[in-house]
Symmetry: C2
Subunit: 346 residues, 2 copies
């Protein structure tokens, strides 16, 4: 195949429920000659994130939905293979919105914010810059910080073994939480959460008695909820908040697959009234608002990693760009451990 043929997933139809065949189309397209100020990036690793599903829908999101017909939006790491700009020399490793494709034609519009040239040599494994030392790690750091987690408090982290949750739980431990309780799917993940990630307990939300498990794991109630899931798990947590509790609302993956055409979706939280009774707060946040704190956060996380105090999981799916849609489905099924990536090229 020619060096200048790009293979890209274009969004043809907005998903109804789970991503289905026909929602995305894999196309082959010739890349035009570079103009001034452009660079061509070959994607090596593509980050799979719950927010990918949000971007496919036309709900009122935090970024415009991916237009129908456009290449699917995604964050990745790649190498500059051609360049007509000085700040991105050939051979440089860059990170940012490379999208679901093999070759990304980068220009100023795409350089806005998160297309960053990474340091050479890298201070850690490349993949970590999409995970623990990238946007997911920073998300965990900011969410714990916003919750003002106090010494001795009980924190619950949902999606406890996920890319964000796994880091959030460990930061909570480092910051002096009294009790760090995870919620994850299946006994294997729960064991991993306790043994590798240092949770005091982990509740298996696939078990029939998960509510009782959660109650037993939080005997003194819940002071902080690092919420990644939403739905019945979040609702139950709301019912156990202590006075003055803080919910850092990072994600609600349980409902993203119901973000359907027209924006209507299922589900519903019934325990929001407990925020009054317990004088508690839910604060939604997005890591992209905290660009000025990435350096601080990555410095902190890199320090922990260097000291051997941060366990870091990743699941890298091989198979090239074709593997991306299946990997997203796996993310929503909870099949991965830690950060989920697709290796698009070596």
């Amino acid at each position: 195949m020619s060096e200048r043929v790009n293979r890209a997933y274009r969004l043809r139809r907005r998903p109804t429920g789970e991503l289905a065949d026909g929602d995305l189309e894999l196309v082959e397209e010739e890349v035009p000659e570079l103009g001034d100020g452009q660079a061509l990036v070959r994607t090596r690793l593509l980050s799979l994130d719950p927010t990918n599903r949000i971007w496919m829908s036309d709900i009122r999101g935090y970024m415009p939905p991916v237009p129908l017909g456009a290449v699917m939006r995604g964050i990745g790491i790649g190498e500059v293979v051609e360049s007509r700009r000085e700040d991105m020399p050939v051979g440089a490793t860059v990170s940012g919105f490379l999208d679901w494709q093999e070759l990304c034609l980068a220009d100023d519009s795409r350089l806005l914010a998160p297309l960053t040239v990474l340091p050479d040599p890298l201070p850690g494994p490349e993949s970590a810059f999409l995970g623990a030392l990238g946007h997911t790690g920073v998300t965990a750091y900011i969410g714990i910080d916003l919750a003002e987690l106090g010494e001795g408090e009980t924190i619950v982290v949902s999606a406890a073994c996920g890319a964000v949750g796994s880091i959030a739980g460990q930061i909570a431990r480092q910051r002096g939480a009294g009790r760090v309780v995870g919620v994850a799917g299946g006994p294997e993940k729960c064991r991993h959460a306790v043994e590798a990630l240092g949770y005091d307990a982990c509740v298996d939300h696939r078990a029939d008695d998960w509510r009782e498990q959660l109650d037993a794991a939080t005997p003194d109630g819940i002071d902080v909820d690092f919420e990644n899931v939403g739905g019945p798990i979040m609702d139950h947590v709301l019912g156990r908040l202590n006075i003055g509790a803080r919910v850092s609302l990072c994600g609600m993956i349980a409902e993203y697959n119901s973000y359907n055409e027209g924006g209507e979706h299922a589900g519903g939280l019934t325990n929001v009234g407990q925020l009054i009774m317990q004088r508690s707060t839910i604060r939604g946040f997005l890591v992209l608002d905290f660009g000025d704190r990435f350096e601080e956060a990555i410095g902190y996380l890199g320090g922990l990693l260097g000291e051997g105090k941060l366990h870091y999981d990743e699941t890298i799916v091989d198979g090239g760009i074709e593997a991306a849609p299946g990997a997203l489905a796996e993310l929503f099924d909870g099949g991965n451990l830690g950060k989920l990536l697709v290796r698009v090229a070596d």
Copy 2:
């Protein structure tokens, strides 16, 4: 009837749905001779508040539920008619938890916090000390303050003509809101909201097209929600929040009648995910946490009232203590305008 016979409503059964016959029982009881440190208070006015229904249920509330068999909890104003304590002389007017009864035997346990001897002479109509210059007015003041309402912002106030909402809307106007939008039930209340209370617009949530009305009334989205209702109205408001919006969660009257035995209740908010997209916050609060700010709040509200800048509505139901259960039903039906009171005695 003897001066020492008390007529009181005792809670016999926790309501399922709306308050029903048999949930409360009107009993006649001899009042014992006063002991040291006790005083006898004859209730003149009883405050009806949505929270009365919360106190009847056994959900996880902010105060223990009224025990079965106990006199129903309520706030009122009354006169000291017998006394064996110096701080409550006969003839003094007091305000606090007098409960749903004609005669309240007050002692230290009941004097904790809100049983207050009012100044003599009163700087305003007595009834206002259960409303605009009492706990409901302070609730409005604190809720606006916590939302950090900025100049030029759009605020929505649900239950816009209610005891709290009617004051909150006017404080918002005084504090420089750009657009103050109410939500109320029925065209008459909506007209009153605009003409008497100074709302820029008021949406009739009983109209079929209330969602479209609310959208049209908030063309620039919503920066602050002073939430008294919950349910579909709050859910729709969540869908129109601007980036950085704040929800002061004061009450969710729409769901209190579903606080049933066992704590399960219906309903559910589907738009909480918008808190992430719009980086917004819901903060639940209770006025009872702000005892140290009552003086400041009442000073502010009294000042506005004195300058003729605060319109104050009240609905006083006559008929003695027997009128209390029906008045509570009226509160939930939205039959009242402004503060709802029962005149227990002249």
